[in-house]
Symmetry: C2
Subunit: 618 residues, 2 copies
């Protein structure tokens, strides 16, 4: 061992001990007669002292050392003259008696400090130096602790960690797979798992009862700032449970993580229906660190001659407490903000509640003081508050107002990184209609179970008074929710669109407006699963070819089961208060999917291609 | 929750409680007036009772249930009439009051019992049913416990778990890589890691000090029974350490695993030089559960006119205690065994030490009683022992005798699965010469450090008396070790072959003759690493292109470091007493690399191929 102690270990009680330390030269200060070196390792920093008077040769040697040199020293622990209360080792220093340079270092391309002068690209190219910085190392140590606490908790609940395979089968449903050509099976490919979904369900069929894994998953998607082609999930599944049991078990995990990692006592996590989340926050992942709930104004504002509101399907607003002082310029900024193409509102109506209780709005031409008072009442607005209102199709307007709400939250400082608010969003729709493709997709995934009380909507003929009326006339006028336009539909279309109303036993955990993960109670019945694949556009043959193993398994005594997965990278970055999951990944890829440090991906040998029976078509 | 208790939980203290259980129908016995069902889950089995007298309808319903049906029952815990001491729940039974069939089951294709009637192929196709068998589930629970104990131990030593990337860069050195075409970088490929080797070394350069990971690795090799294309390693690396520190740390891991998983107090693990292992056991992974060490006989047997021994480079044997009774037929079997092509001996010489101390050998024509006594003395053979001797080139003969020793160990019952003997084999050669390619390969990997005392052998001119003599004459006669033939070599050749004498700071852990894993102290100096790549046949440009990131990192203050990796699948199977690692993998591949359950690998869509810019050339 090249040391007797780490650089973070020595205290006043060690004074006069002879010690050996190894580490990196963090800084060096030459004060003429004496030279001080801060020696750094993972555990801390210890000050080394070299004295011209007692050993000139050694001191001269020390002076020639550069930053990041790797040193091994022997010396005696001494009391420090200028104690440093900021450092755990600040009471002592080492009077060095021998010095070995274990390795030299070129001058690093950026400073190894919390606030480094290195840009993103440079730091990623030299990630091994970036990882030397305390902030980065601490991020990865937090990740280690998160995994450790998670495992201990799940172990305590009798979950078994099972490794599922990485080389599996490609399925066209969902995101793009990464594939791996098989040399031994020419022309065939493995796929890397987007999640261990089907395997964990098979483990439930196998009677494993409670499974977990902290596992790498892969998605070949075009990358955004917070997406990585490989990412890590805390992946779990349980048998003989209902939705409440899963929510309770994983609320427990979240709370113990907050307690043990951040020292925070998390209150119990409230549940919110998907429908309510959309109505109150315009989002299925509301940031509940602050209130500012949506208030729908249709009943109050319509019929006063303001065509924008009169023609809108939905008029809805938020009340920003204490923002009445916003200047014209600030309000124009907000208007520009909501009119950006990615937000897509056509305009912004505001109403200031002045200190004297009077209200000044941008639509004074259409609404008098008394009418505006009713607005204020609807929001519970008080003097000093600012009401912001959008109007249009329901879905689009809610989406835009969600963005405006978050923006106001930022501007008003209501989203601090050290405050945490968690929420279960439950009762998600089972299916999501895609206008472009004219078909439904699974909102969660094809294995999610419909709520039993909504199963009737899966039947071919809806037995309801409305449906009967339709059946008689063979067609009905239906309003298109997002635009408000009307169209004539047939019975078959009506039945089909009813699928969109089915709710699932599906749930998401949302913390601070970030979707940490989610899950569902699964289908465990072959017939229902086959029906679901049919709805999702699989022919029976396709369903059997791709998921036959799972449907067959359901015929051999599949228990009721369900589970969830948390995005571990995102959970870590949330706990660490970071904006990017990249900071919590030791060797991340950039937005082009490249590891710029090792320069991957790269071309491979023709020999490899030939063995794999593939060729490149670029 | 579909249960109040598990099927392994109820005891006599629970009698009279009303409970709900869920699980699988293991067996059903219809005794006329009463029907008994064994209900099984992961935790155990509980007996259910249905009585025709008290509830005929319920009892009739119970009688119609088949094996592996999934049931939920309510009932009252009662004292069992025929108590079963073999079962944890054997004191009680449940008088069932209500029965729900949660799911039906077709008749499984094989019985869900420890001794199943299902063949390998069938069990793999229905792996989810195979996993229901106690023996298989317990194997995977043992694996879970092994991982848990390993993590706890490494955590306690301040190792940090860091996830290294799965999508990395292909390198031609070593085994074949699995590769992954990159859609975003057309014509380029990621590779799946054969180990996280370079990344863990970079973590040491980054100052992480102690790293571990239980991690999937991938090798596209032709598969044998105990190989899988994806496998799991306990992967570790430490800084500022020497070989002894690593051996101590991981001996600690092995001992705590034996203690906590098997309840075995493992003695401290002895160290054996590679050279001694080869000399005494003819193997770098000797099974030390039994002694039967090799004894070299050259000095004793040569010059007595037996040409086979006289012409052999090495005459070497073993002494099988108590096997003198072996019949002629058994000895012929052994002779056939060693003459098999994969063993390759040309014959087998034996000598029986009879009860009266006389010795009967197969070479009595050449060796008299007195000479054979000297054989017996060399082995310390006693009456009743059997001496078995092979002769030929050193390497080949040792290899063959190793096989014979293991075979005798099997025949004499000296290799029981519940006895464990561990060993560190140390001081491996750095390089291994391949006759076919006429070049050296890294015995461990290219990052392994030579022993400092052998570094001189890397110099271009060996400064030794022998070398000087050669230098004068420019050529020398050298004996080829394996065949004993002589050839004339040049100074350059002599220098080159000297590389084979360099020993490495490399070590393997061997338990019961199985290589569990190994590691080495690494090179941390750019120049030495570059030289090593040169010896391994890389041009400087190739070395820079493939491993430039690592060599560059060594220029920025790389600490002395080293580590190891244990094969986790193999370690688990060893602990569990199994022959195949497959038994300890939840969803293994077969020898053709196929998952027959999900039918992977498989063809993928043309659309996928096109997006990935590749085509299939089958």
């Amino acid at each position: 061992m090249h040391r007797t102690h780490s650089c973070g270990e020595l205290r006043a009680t060690d004074i006069n001990k002879t010690v050996t330390l190894s580490g990196w030269l963090q800084t060096s200060r030459d004060l003429g007669g004496m030279t001080f070196i801060d020696l750094r390792d993972r555990y801390g920093i210890t000050q080394l002292v070299f004295n011209m008077e007692t050993d000139a040769a050694l001191c001269e040697k020390a002076r020639k050392l550069g930053r990041e040199f790797v040193l091994k020293i022997e010396g005696t622990v001494a009391e420090r003259y200028n104690k440093n209360a900021q450092m755990a080792t600040g009471d002592v220093e080492i009077i060095v008696s021998s010095l070995t340079v274990l390795n030299e270092s070129k001058t690093p391309p950026f400073t190894i400090e919390d606030d480094t002068d290195g840009g993103d690209d440079l730091r990623m190219r030299y990630r091994y130096l970036d990882l030397r910085r305390n902030v980065v190392r601490e991020s990865l140590m937090l990740r280690h602790k998160m995994a450790k606490v998670s495992r201990a908790y799940l172990d305590s609940l009798d979950f078994i960690e099972v490794e599922t395979p990485v080389l599996i089968k490609s399925t066209p449903e969902g995101a793009r797979d990464f594939v791996v050509p098989s040399r031994m099976n020419p022309g065939q490919f493995y796929a890397l798992p987007q999640s261990p979904q089907t395997f964990k369900q098979l483990l439930m069929v196998a009677g494993f009862d409670r499974y977990y894994q902290i596992v790498k998953c892969f998605r070949d998607e075009d990358l955004r700032a917070d997406r990585q082609p490989e990412f890590t999930q805390i992946d779990c599944e349980m048998s003989f449970i209902e939705q409440e049991d899963i929510l309770n078990a994983f609320e427990g995990l979240v709370r113990i993580l907050f307690k043990e990692v951040l020292g925070i006592d998390m209150p119990s996590v409230p549940h919110m229906d998907y429908a309510d989340a959309m109505k109150w926050y315009g989002s299925d992942k509301p940031d509940t660190r602050f209130d500012m709930k949506f208030v729908e104004l249709n009943d109050i504002v319509k019929g006063q001659g303001f065509p924008v509101f009169d023609n809108a399907e939905l008029v809805v607003g938020i009340c920003a407490k204490g923002a009445a002082e916003y200047t014209r310029k600030q309000l124009d900024e907000l208007t520009d903000y909501v009119k950006r193409p990615q937000i897509g509102a056509t305009g912004l109506v505001y109403a200031r509640v002045n200190a004297d209780g009077t209200i000044k709005s941008s639509v004074d031409k259409f609404y008098n003081e008394e009418q505006l008072k009713r607005w204020a009442d609807a929001f519970g607005a008080e003097p000093g508050d600012l009401i912001l209102v959008l109007a249009g199709g329901t879905d689009k307007t809610r989406k835009a107002l969600n963005e405006l709400r978050l923006e106001m939250g930022n501007r008003l400082g209501l989203r601090p990184k050290d405050k945490f608010s968690a929420l279960w969003v439950v009762d998600f729709p089972l299916l999501e209609y895609n206008e472009n493709d004219g078909r439904f997709y699974a909102m969660h995934h094809p294995f999610t179970s419909p709520k039993p009380e909504d199963l009737y909507l899966l039947e071919d003929e809806i037995e309801s008074p409305v449906a009967k009326a339709i059946a008689d006339e063979l067609a009905v006028v239906e309003t298109e929710p997002s635009t408000g336009s009307e169209k004539i539909i047939t019975q078959a279309e009506y039945n089909y669109m009813n699928l969109g109303k089915i709710r699932a036993n599906a749930y998401d955990l949302v913390i601070n407006g970030v979707e940490i993960g989610g899950g569902s109670i699964r289908i465990h019945d072959r017939e229902l699963q086959a029906k679901m694949f049919g709805i999702l556009g699989f022919t029976p043959e396709e369903a059997q070819a791709q998921f036959g193993f799972l449907m067959n398994a359901f015929e051999y005594g599949a228990p009721p089961h369900g589970g969830l997965a948390f995005g571990f990278d995102r959970l870590c970055s949330l706990f660490g208060g970071a904006d990017h999951i990249r900071d919590y990944i030791a060797f991340p890829k950039n937005n082009a999917g490249r590891d710029v440090m090792i320069d991957a991906p790269s071309a491979i040998d023709d020999k490899q291609l030939k063995e794999l029976a593939i060729s490149v078509t670029v």
